[in-house]
């Protein structure tokens, strides 16, 4: 367990007054509060540290204890033992979101766990903001591959020990957020449960570039096929397609394959288009014979 310098977190020195602490806390809280830094897990973490530092330093009892024992931290074995006891009695909180390769955080920033350092010195925090009516919302991010996003599929998560299964409709976008109503923390006083928000991070594991519902790909084309025409078989996300190459196809020529792009989110049967750009490959390591023939060709022009 690491020693945490609460003064440093708030940018103060050891003889800061209660007023200094209040001011420093408010100033930092206004900068890093998760409400003002949406979708920023880093701010959530930072704000928790600021909150924790404030919780200790703004409370004269806690501050005294911290100042007294804090500097001898490495020798303070009794705290280490206390920590172990606390852990064996089962720690509260923790990550309620498991599985799915995602990450979990709550965005109001005041329900998060304090550090081991804090709980070993002061015990688990009792108070914190209590649910008054609506339960707290949970936020999670989930990583999926573009090839998975192509098809409607199911994902199972466990949130607070309860398994929930969601259907991810084909065509979900990178950064898209879906709301699962009622799967946040329980409400109080007859209020509704919080909601669970899941943000999808879609990683491209394909050879295509996605722009909205359209896909783009550059396909190499050999010189002779470009000049004389022919056929080329290319991969699309829905299988192979045979294309007819027109004679005298230019380098950089583009074609559009209608409906061979990405599915449109929640629009059954609708697809974007696939755009193919041909990149003509100029032959290399020419033999003497080939050079001769190219020279003959060039003289005909």
């Amino acid at each position: 367990m690491e020693y945490i310098d609460y003064y440093k977190i708030l940018g103060l020195n050891k003889n800061a007054t209660a007023d200094d602490i209040k001011k420093a806390y408010r100033k930092l809280a206004r900068q890093h509060h998760p409400d003002l830094n949406p979708n920023n897990a880093e701010a959530v973490k930072l704000f928790q540290q600021i909150n924790e530092a404030n919780e200790v330093l703004s409370d004269p009892e806690k501050r005294k204890k911290y100042d007294q024992y804090g500097k001898d931290w490495k020798n303070a074995e009794q705290y280490e033992q206390a920590r172990k006891q606390q852990q064996s009695s089962g720690s509260a909180g923790g990550n309620p979101f498991g599985g799915g390769g995602g990450s979990f955080y709550t965005e109001s920033g005041d329900e998060g766990d304090f550090s081991d350092f804090f709980s070993s010195m002061f015990g688990n925090r009792g108070g914190g903001r209590q649910t008054k009516f609506k339960g707290q919302d949970f936020r999670a991010s989930v990583q999926i591959n573009l090839s998975e996003a192509y098809k409607t599929h199911q994902q199972t998560f466990s949130v607070n020990g309860k398994n929930i299964r969601i259907t991810v409709a084909a065509g979900i976008e990178n950064g898209q957020e879906i709301k699962i109503a009622g799967h946040g923390a329980p409400g109080a006083n007859g209020g509704p449960n919080g909601d669970l928000y899941i943000t999808f991070e879609v990683h491209n594991d394909t050879a295509f570039t996605r722009k909205g519902n359209d896909l783009y790909k550059t396909v190499p084309l050999n010189l002779y096929k470009a000049v004389l025409g022919g056929e080329e078989i290319i991969d699309t996300l829905s299988g192979k397609v045979k294309l007819t190459i027109a004679p005298e196809t230019q380098n950089g020529a583009k074609i559009r394959l209608k409906g061979k792009g990405f599915p449109v989110y929640k629009k059954e049967g609708a697809f974007g288009d696939l755009y193919i750009t041909y990149q003509v490959q100029i032959p290399t390591k020419l033999s003497e014979k080939e050079k001769e023939l190219f020279e003959q060709l060039s003289k005909l022009r």
Binding site: R26, A29, R30, H33, D35, L36, P38, N39, S108, D110, K132, F133, K134, D137, N174, G175, A188, N189, G191, P192, D195, T209, R210, K211, G212, Y216, T218, Y275, T277
Partner: protein, 95 residues
């Protein structure tokens, strides 16, 4: 039709220990939207996350109504810019 779930502003203020005038001001500034039935004002459940957010900003961070109004506007802009940035980051060499 889906039942609209709501709570009276009066009851809500008791649970959250805030002044009714605070909630009314949020409504007047367009930060939340209240619904009315006769004399009584209600807040729909889907407005509660916003209400809680502005409560935190106001009571914890000491931001006034005008400040929260400006923040709302800026957060919307950030949202738009994030979406735009994502589209650009998707590395488009093609048109």
């Amino acid at each position: 039709m889906e039942e609209i779930r709501k709570i009276s502003v009066e009851q809500c203020c008791i649970y959250y220990s805030v002044e009714a005038s605070f909630v009314q001001q949020l409504d007047e500034h367009g930060l939340i939207m209240l619904s009315h039935s006769g004399e009584e004002a209600f807040i729909e459940y889907d407005q509660l996350p916003d209400l809680e957010k502005y409560m935190r900003m106001h009571y914890d961070l000491h931001i006034n109504m005008e400040g929260m109004h400006a923040i709302k506007h800026l957060l919307q802009q950030i949202d738009t810019l994030h979406a735009e940035m994502r589209r650009l980051q998707e590395g488009l060499s093609e048109e």
